[in-house]
Amino acid sequence: MSAHIGDDAAEIAALPELDAERLAAYAHAASCAECAARLAEAESLLALIDAAPLPAPSAQVLQRTMNAVLAEFDAEDRVYAAARSRSQAPERMRPSVRPGVTKAPPRRGLVAAAAAVVVSALFALFDTHAGQLAFSAGIDCGLKELVFAAGAVGLGFAVSKGRWGALPVAALGAWGALAGQAYLRFQCPASHDAPHVFAFHFLGVLVAALVGLMLQPRPSTSAA
């Protein structure tokens, strides 16, 4: 810095010690008495300012403010505690099944669905002989069985007056599909061809039972 220090001496002196502008000013002042005097006066000014901090607030004011924040802490703790107890409440208080939904008899429903699958398999085993797969007709057969299954579930839903939770969906689906298989026994041109019956008629019943199982309403574990 070659220029002389002007009215901004205090501002320069107030810069961080390693600031480039400050270092340059002090380097210049080392060989310039006038600027050195300005910087000395600036340092005196800063010393005066630094020695006149405001008095600290009273202990009562500090305590009052701290208490206000601690009260917020307490309020938050109460909210968290309430939320925690609410989140745990379902374990103790939540009804085992939603209101309006009664428990389905899962075991009997599963047994009924399995029985439908077994009957379907027996049909496929003993009412068929070697034959064709008849793929394009088979897709049609499979879809028809699923329509029968959906019809059976829909009928059950209507009979149970809309109480889905009471519905043995897997059993209804499987037996509905089995009814479809019986219908196909007389309508399907490949109803005695073992590959076709296994791949589409039996499989339709099995798929209906599995989809029904996935849709089966599950009561909470505490209800078991």
Partner: protein, 197 residues
């Protein structure tokens, strides 16, 4: 790295954010007088400073989850304090929500309080300096408070106040120049024992 020091402001703040009341109390003991001084410097009124300090700490508490521990704490804290200060000035002068530092400075300057001129003449040197500081504009007082007493850089002050480093430096320049003029007698007459009181 501030967090490496378990006793740093930043480490205490991190514990406070995690729900440690003891850390809050320690941090509060360190910071509260500084926040109070900031408001007292700005408003020249102890009771106002008491109230605004409380508002600031409640705001800090509610915003504590937004603090990023990798950043220095004090600029973050003073930014919240600066918002409280600005809200207070807006309320007093009924300024628009988007009124910046210039509008605040103009409003405050137009109502410059003469109280600083009415003090007892027989004050000690520190009191004279405080009186000189009180005679500055509000923005100058605030900038000097943050610069001299909090050790914040012009860039940090600018960030805190929502201004630019250049504008902050300009205010600081005027403030120092004004103080040099007002405290000329003290500068020419240093204490005999050496060192300010």
């Amino acid at each position: 790295m501030p967090l490496e020091d378990p006793d740093s402001d930043e480490s205490l703040m991190a514990l406070y954010v995690a729900g440690d009341r003891r850390a809050f109390e320690r941090l509060f003991a360190r910071i509260a007088p500084k926040i109070h001084a900031f408001f007292r410097r700005a408003f020249r009124d102890e009771m106002v400073a008491d109230e605004l300090m409380q508002i600031t700490f409640l705001n800090v508490h509610r915003a504590r989850a937004t603090y990023r521990p990798e950043l220095p704490l004090r600029p973050w804290l003073f930014t919240i304090a600066a918002h409280v200060r600005r809200d207070e000035w807006r309320k007093r002068y009924r300024l628009a929500e988007d009124a910046g530092e210039d509008a605040l400075a103009a409003a405050e300057q137009s109502r410059a309080v003469a109280a600083a001129e009415q003090r007892d003449a027989a004050e000690d040197r520190a009191a004279v300096v405080r009186r000189a500081l009180d005679s500055l504009s509000e923005i100058q007082r605030v900038i000097l408070q943050l610069h001299r007493y909090e050790g914040m850089t012009y860039a940090e002050i600018a960030q805190t106040l929502g201004s630019t480093p250049g504008a902050v430096r300009q205010h600081a320049f005027r403030a120092y120049e004004d103080l040099r003029t007002r405290l000329g007698d003290l500068l020419r007459d240093p204490p005999a024992t050496g060192g300010p009181p």
